[in-house]
């Protein structure tokens, strides 16, 4: 469908049931879960339960040691509400990983059906993965894609199977546990996530999708996504996340590691829609070889506190990155998002286009981190950041950080912060459109450059989420 048609799908009436759809808790009882808090015994128990190979067993324990000696970050939004002693790091659903949807237990199937996951698969995806709490319960990949040598599986299968060595060579190599406390935590207790390998010279023309559904209260989620795209290959990977609402804090500290080979192209699209008790401290990073392209499309909704700054390391000459993202911070939310790029080679280029919306006292911060190495001559950087505040209580900040170590570089930076135009609302109302709809229309219009980058069903979902957020009177 064309971009034009997508826009026609801005909902007339946001569905009241829609927020409920995400907030409804599943009734599934876990088969196994560790006790809350974090000790060497708990980490061992996770290893035992998962049947980790020895190197991973050791990796977890080392990461735990790093975690214990690393203080929490001294910048960014406050994390006081997050008590690690209360977080359950591993909740295994009472289900095996299935390859046939029919075999997934009813309760879990119900949850995903409500979210439209199998439907999405029927309507044009090359493969689908579904994770429930800490483990993946379903994975399938279309045979024509598998026949090209494309591997799309859950991380456990990859770790223990024929790609175990490849996993070992790449796992937490670009997101090392030493980097910060939550990466260390991830290294210790990670579970679930997806592994994708696209061999050299393969163009995957239809997207792969993973959906993460976190159901347990007071739990931490630490899925690991590892994607390796070979020379000259291309892939579009879509990640969707949601969680029901509980009154206790939940923590999400996933890791996404992306390897983009020479001349390869990877698009990584995410719509994260967390419940408003979630601390979303997610880490994402890509390394891009010569003439490779990484494209990030990111929508951040929900969560209590969010810290998310996908980084692209352009290490090969002529590598490119493109980031398009939107953040919506409503009442009680502090969303700290942005993008980072390291220009480590000649003639690399990056474009960051970030938008944020804040409403009802919500706080939205954009952090742009640009590093240009001394040898990275001839590179081009363009950063634009556009914030829309829907009322005077809300807050929007931009924090650009640039570390440029060579002269021959072309850098553009533009930031705009504005209020929603009362004149525009009046104009739309003068055409019969109600005030709420007029506001939603303007905000959806503001978000349009992002939604047009998303696959249709995600664009519709995003428009729905915006309309839902707009309806809230706080």
């Amino acid at each position: 469908m064309s971009g034009e048609d997508k826009r026609a799908l801005i909902p007339d009436e946001p569905d009241d049931a829609a927020r409920e759809m995400y907030d409804t808790k599943g009734v599934m009882k876990p088969r196994f879960q560790v006790s809350s808090g974090l000790t060497s015994e708990i980490v061992s128990a996770i290893s035992d339960e998962k049947g980790d190979p020895p190197w991973m067993r050791e990796f977890r324990q080392q990461s735990l040691a790093v975690y214990n000696e690393t203080p929490p970050p001294d910048w960014g939004p406050p994390l006081d509400g997050l008590d690690m002693e209360q977080i359950i790091t591993y909740v295994k659903p009472d289900a095996r990983m299935e390859a046939r949807w029919e075999d997934v237990p009813e309760e879990i199937k119900d949850t995903f059906e409500r979210l439209g996951i199998p439907e999405a698969e029927r309507t044009g995806l090359a493969g689908v993965g579904a994770q429930y709490d800490s483990e993946v319960v379903y994975h399938s990949v279309k045979s024509e894609v598998a026949d090209l040598g494309v591997v799309y599986t859950d991380m456990d299968t990859a770790l223990k199977g024929e790609y175990g060595e490849m996993v070992r060579q790449h796992f937490m190599k670009i997101l090392p546990p030493r980097e910060h406390r939550f990466m260390a935590l991830h290294g210790a207790v990670w579970s679930g996530g997806s592994f994708v390998y696209v061999p050299d010279g393969v163009e995957v023309t239809i997207p792969l999708q993973s959906y993460f559904r976190f159901n347990a209260a007071g739990a931490g989620q630490f899925e690991h996504t590892l994607i390796i795209v070979g020379k000259g290959s291309s892939l579009h990977f879509i990640e969707g996340c949601s969680a029901p609402k509980y009154n206790v804090a939940n923590l999400h500290a996933g890791c996404v590691e992306l390897y983009v080979g020479e001349g390869a192209r990877l698009r990584y699209s995410t719509i994260e829609n967390w419940s408003k008790n979630m601390y979303n401290l997610n880490s994402k990073r890509a390394v891009v070889d010569k003439n490779g392209i990484i494209e990030w499309v990111s929508g951040s909704f929900g969560s209590h506190t969010g810290c998310l700054y996908p980084m692209s390391v352009l290490r090969g000459e002529g590598a490119r990155m493109d980031y398009t993202g939107i953040t919506f911070a409503g009442a009680g939310q502090n969303l700290d998002t942005g993008a980072q790029v390291v220009h480590a080679a000649k003639n690399t280029s990056s474009r960051i286009s970030a938008k944020s919306i804040s409403k009802g006292g919500g706080k939205s911060t954009f952090r742009g981190g640009i590093t240009v190495a001394r040898e990275a001559t001839g590179c081009r950087v363009s950063v634009s950041c556009d914030s829309l505040m829907l009322d005077s209580r809300s807050r929007s900040d931009t924090v650009p950080v640039m570390d440029v170590r060579c002269d021959d570089v072309d850098i553009g930076y533009e930031a705009k912060i504005g209020r929603i135009s009362e004149q525009a609302i009046y104009y739309l109302m003068s055409r019969g459109i109600s005030e709420d709809d007029a506001r939603a229309m303007i905000v959806n219009g503001f978000a349009e450059p992002i939604s047009k980058e998303l696959p249709l069903e995600y664009a519709v979902e995003m428009n729905n989420l915006i309309s839902l957020e707009m309806k809230g009177n706080t």
Binding site: A424, S430, R431, G432, A438, G445, E448
Partner: protein, 261 residues
């Protein structure tokens, strides 16, 4: 033919902040009539248009606005639009990310209570766009974003014809247009006009209303309609300006013209 009052403005006093713009203004427009509102710059013509539309930027100090006999003085603009009031803006707002077509279809659905079917709507819209000389590609353009002054005015007339209101107020729909564009806009306005609806046209010159039968002409001065008359008043003003006018505060202000057409 008996004419029913469509719009009745009684003793309307309007201010913006501390500043009084209109005082005790009276105006009645019947179904089937075309009124022209003239006056020097800054006399409050746009304020009157905004007050009728319900702009939140102005305060109604006293008086009433009735539409089809119902008091709408306190109503929000969207409700007024759904009753059949339309304002063609002098400087239409730009709304990024919202396409002209999607906006119009949403608006049409809002005023009629039923969202038009996509394919039929597209077809009808294309026909009207062609008549107005608006390139087809504009349907997918963001509303008024990057439109030239003339394109914005044409887009307003396109909205008028799509929404087909009962009362259309055109606030300088011809300003800044070249001769051909004024003709196109004027023809569009003529297509809209029928026995059941009415027009209030704010303009500085006669070109826009050539080919449109004008029933009443009003001159806004000193915060009220200082002078009202027939179509000939308009010619007098365009020939000799406002300075030569004998404004008479006791002149019938916007009184219904009677049955003659």
């Amino acid at each position: 033919m008996t004419k029913a009052p469509l719009l009745q403005i009684k003793n309307l006093t309007v201010a913006v902040g501390e500043k009084l713009i209109l005082r005790d203004l009276e105006l009645t427009i019947n179904a089937g009539e075309t009124h022209v509102l003239m006056g020097q710059n800054g006399t409050g013509k746009s304020t009157l248009a905004s007050a009728i539309m319900g702009s939140p930027a102005f305060d109604i100090i006293s008086g009433e606005i009735l539409f089809e006999g119902e008091n709408i003085t306190e109503e929000s603009p969207d409700k007024r639009a759904r009753r059949g009031i339309f304002l063609s803006f002098q400087n239409p707002e730009e709304v990024p990310g919202v396409t002209l077509e999607n906006f119009l279809r949403t608006a049409k659905g809002a005023v009629t209570g039923e969202k038009p079917r996509l394919m039929q709507f597209k077809k009808d819209l294309r026909v009207e766009m062609e008549r107005l000389g608006v390139a087809e590609t504009y349907a997918a353009r963001e509303l008024n974003v990057g439109f030239s002054g003339g394109e914005k005015k044409k887009a307003e007339i396109l909205q008028l014809l799509t929404l087909n209101p009962k009362l259309a107020i055109l606030d300088e729909a011809d300003s800044g247009l070249d001769v051909d564009a004024v003709k196109t806009v004027s023809e569009g306005v003529s297509r809209f006009r029928n026995e059941g609806n009415a027009l209030l046209i704010i303009t500085h010159n006669t070109r826009l209303v050539e080919g449109i039968a004008v029933d009443r002409v009003h001159v806004l001065e000193n915060k009220k309609l200082a002078l009202s008359g027939g179509a000939e008043l308009m010619r007098r003003i365009t020939d000799s300006g406002f300075a030569g006018l004998q404004t008479n505060p006791d002149a019938p202000r916007g009184a219904p013209k009677g049955d003659t057409q």
